[in-house]
C-alpha cells in the first residue's frame, strides 16, 4: 500500500530497458541496483517501482544517521523499506558497510545503492563521481547483476534542503546490467558505471 502511495505521489513510471524485472525462467539473481542520487525519495521510489515479488527481496542501503532519527523514520526504515542501515561517519572493522551488503547478497537478496554517496546538488542533474563500494561488490559477487537505474525529476519533487514536496511526475529507468570487463581497473569501471546511469535519460527527453 505504501508502495502504491509513493507511486501515486511521484507519478513514478518504471521503464525496463535492456533488463527484464524477472528472468524468463522466473528466477531473479541477487542484484545491485545503483542509481543517481537527488532526493530523500530516491530509495523509496526505486523500491516502490519494483514489482511486488522483487520488492520483498530488495533492501535499500541507507544512512543510519538519517533514518534512525525519530520513531516514524525508524519504523519506515526497518519495517517498511527494510533498509540496510550503514554508518557514514565512524566506520570500523565491526560495522564495515560492505560486509553487511555482502551478507544480503549472500542471502540471495538485492540491494539499492547510491554510489555517489550523497545527493548531488546540481540544478542540471549532473552526477558526482562514484565511490568505490560498487567495484568491491562487483569483485566479490560476480554472480550479482549490477543494474543501473536512472531517476528523473526527483530533485524537483523533493530537492535537498527542503521538506516541501511538490507533485511533479518522476521517471525511473532500469537499464542493462554491467560487469567488470577483463583487465578493467577500478577508476575505469566506476566511470563506466556512472556513464551507464547517465545514458538512461529517457528517450523522449533527448
Amino acid at each position: 500500500m505504501i508502495a502504491g502511495l509513493i507511486r501515486l505521489i511521484t507519478g513514478a513510471q518504471a521503464r525496463w530497458c535492456g533488463v527484464d524485472p524477472v528472468r524468463p525462467d522466473g528466477t531473479v539473481p541477487p542484484r545491485v541496483y545503483f542509481a543517481n542520487h537527488q532526493s530523500n525519495l530516491d530509495a523509496p521510489v526505486i523500491w516502490a517501482s519494483l514489482p511486488t515479488e522483487l520488492r520483498r527481496q530488495t533492501r535499500p542501503v541507507a544512512a543510519r544517521d538519517y533514518w534512525n532519527k525519530g520513531p516514524l523514520r525508524q519504523y519506515l526504515a526497518n519495517n517498511v523499506f527494510r533498509c540496510l542501515l550503514i554508518e557514514r561517519a565512524k566506520v570500523t572493522v565491526s560495522n564495515n558497510p560492505l560486509r553487511a551488503m555482502e551478507e544480503v547478497l549472500d542471502a540471495g537478496e538485492s540491494l539499492i545503492i547510491f554510489p555517489e554517496g550523497t545527493r548531488s546538488m546540481d540544478d542540471e542533474g549532473e552526477m558526482n563521481d562514484f565511490k568505490p563500494g560498487l567495484w568491491h561488490l562487483a569483485k566479490k559477487h560476480p554472480e550479482a547483476e549490477l543494474v543501473p537505474v536512472h531517476l528523473e525529476n526527483l530533485n524537483r519533487i523533493l530537492p535537498k534542503g527542503t521538506v516541501v514536496l511538490i507533485p511533479l511526475l518522476a521517471a525511473v529507468t532500469f537499464g542493462a546490467p554491467i560487469r567488470i570487463e577483463e583487465g578493467e581497473d577500478k577508476p575505469a569501471f566506476l566511470a563506466r558505471a556512472k556513464q551507464a546511469v547517465a545514458e538512461l535519460n529517457p528517450p523522449e527527453a533527448a
Binding site: 507519478g11 513510471q13 540544478d123 525529476n153 530533485n155 524537483r156 530537492p159 527542503t162 516541501v164 511538490i166 507533485p167 511533479l168 511526475l169 523522449e204 527527453a205 533527448a206
Partner: protein, 330 residues
C-alpha cells in the same frame, strides 16, 4: 445585461436521452473496436493498422472512464463537479510543470501554485464569487507567483521561468475552472444547477476532437500545421467543426439556446477547441515530447484530453453569462 430568453425549456428528459444515447454509442464503439482488434490480430495485417486499432480501443476505454467520472460528478452535483475539475487542474498542472524546466528556486513557487492557487480558485468558483474568481489568477496569482520566485534570490532565466509557471497556472487552473463555473450561472429554465450547459460544452468540444480525427483519417490531405501537429488537416478541421456544429445544434434541448444559437455557439467552441489543441501541441513540441503523460491509457496525459477545453471553457462561460443569464440573477 439583458438576457436573451430562449424559446425551449431545457428538459430533464432530454438529458436522460443524452446519457442513454452516449452509453449506447460507446457500447457499439466498444463492440466494433473489439471486432477490429480480432481481425487485425487474425490475418497478417500490417503492424501499422494494428497500431491504429489499438489506439482506437484505448481511446474508447478512456471515453468509458471519462463518462463514468462525469456521471459520478453529476450524481454529487455542483460540489462533485467542482472537486472533479479541481482534480483535473491539479493533474494538468502537474504534467505541464513536469515538462517545464524549472530551477531549484522555483520549488516553493510551484508549491504555491499547486496547494494554494488551485484550492482558492475553485473555492471562489464554488461560492459563486464571480468578481474575484474572474481575476484571481490573472491579477493576484501572477503577482504572487512573480514575487515568490524572487524570494529565493535566483535570477537565472528569471523572466522565462516565472512566465512558464504563470502560464501553466493560467491554462491549467484559471481556464479549466470556468467549466464548473458554468454551474454557478442562474440560467433561465434551469433552477440552481445548469448541468446541461457543462455536459453540452464537454460533448461538443470532445466530439469535435473525435470528429476532426475521423474526417482527417478519411479525407485528410492538406496539413494545417505540419510542424506542430502533423495529424491536423484542413479536411479534418472543416469536417469536424461542421459536424460538431450540427451535433451542438441537435443537442439544443439540454441548453438554454434555440437551435440557431446552439449552432453558432457550437461552431465557436469547436474552433476554440481546435486552437486549444494546437497551442498545447506547440507546448509539447517545444518541450520535445509527444504526450503529456500516461494517465489515461491511450489518451496521453490529462492535458492531452482537456487541451481543447482550455480555450473553449472561458469563452463559452462568458457567452452564456452575457447573453443567457436571468436579469435578476446576473
Amino acid at each position: 445585461m439583458t438576457a436573451i430568453i430562449a424559446t425551449a425549456m431545457p428538459s430533464e428528459t432530454a438529458a436522460r436521452w443524452l446519457v442513454g444515447g452516449t452509453l449506447i454509442i460507446l457500447g457499439v464503439a466498444t463492440i466494433i473496436g473489439q471486432i477490429l482488434r480480432l481481425r487485425a490480430k487474425s490475418d497478417t495485417a500490417p503492424p501499422d493498422r494494428r497500431r491504429t486499432v489499438a489506439n482506437l480501443n484505448a481511446r474508447i476505454r478512456a471515453w468509458w472512464i471519462m463518462v463514468a467520472v462525469f456521471a459520478s460528478a453529476n450524481y454529487f452535483g455542483r460540489t462533485g463537479a467542482t472537486i472533479l475539475f479541481a482534480l483535473i487542474s491539479f493533474l494538468a498542472l502537474r504534467e505541464m510543470l513536469t515538462l517545464t524546466p524549472t530551477r531549484r528556486g522555483d520549488h516553493h513557487t510551484m508549491f504555491w501554485a499547486f496547494f494554494v492557487l488551485i484550492p482558492i480558485q475553485y473555492f471562489l468558483v464554488y461560492i459563486r464569487w464571480y468578481g474575484l474568481f474572474a481575476i484571481f489568477i490573472p491579477v493576484y496569482g501572477q503577482i504572487f507567483l512573480a514575487i515568490r520566485s524572487t524570494l529565493t534570490g535566483d535570477y537565472t532565466r528569471y523572466l522565462e521561468r516565472t512566465a512558464k509557471i504563470q502560464w501553466a497556472a493560467f491554462i491549467c487552473i484559471y481556464c479549466i475552472s470556468h467549466a464548473p463555473a458554468l454551474l454557478t450561472l442562474p440560467v433561465y429554465g434551469y433552477g440552481d444547477h445548469p448541468w446541461g450547459l457543462l455536459v453540452w460544452l464537454v460533448i461538443v468540444v470532445q466530439m469535435s476532437d473525435v470528429l476532426q480525427y475521423c474526417w482527417g483519417k478519411l479525407l485528410g490531405r492538406r496539413k494545417i500545421a505540419p510542424h506542430i501537429s502533423p495529424n491536423k488537416t484542413w479536411e479534418g478541421f472543416i469536417g469536424g467543426v461542421l459536424t460538431a456544429t450540427l451535433l451542438g445544434a441537435a443537442l439544443y434541448r439540454i441548453t438554454p439556446f434555440n437551435p440557431w444559437q446552439a449552432a453558432i455557439i457550437a461552431f465557436t467552441v469547436a474552433v476554440l477547441g481546435f486552437f486549444g489543441g494546437i497551442v498545447m501541441s506547440a507546448v509539447k513540441r517545444d518541450a520535445g515530447v509527444k504526450d503529456y503523460g500516461n494517465l489515461i491509457e491511450g489518451h496521453g496525459g490529462m492535458m492531452d484530453r482537456i487541451d481543447s477545453l482550455t480555450f473553449a471553457a472561458p469563452v463559452f462561460f462568458h457567452i452564456v453569462r452575457f447573453f443567457f443569464v436571468l436579469p435578476a440573477g446576473g
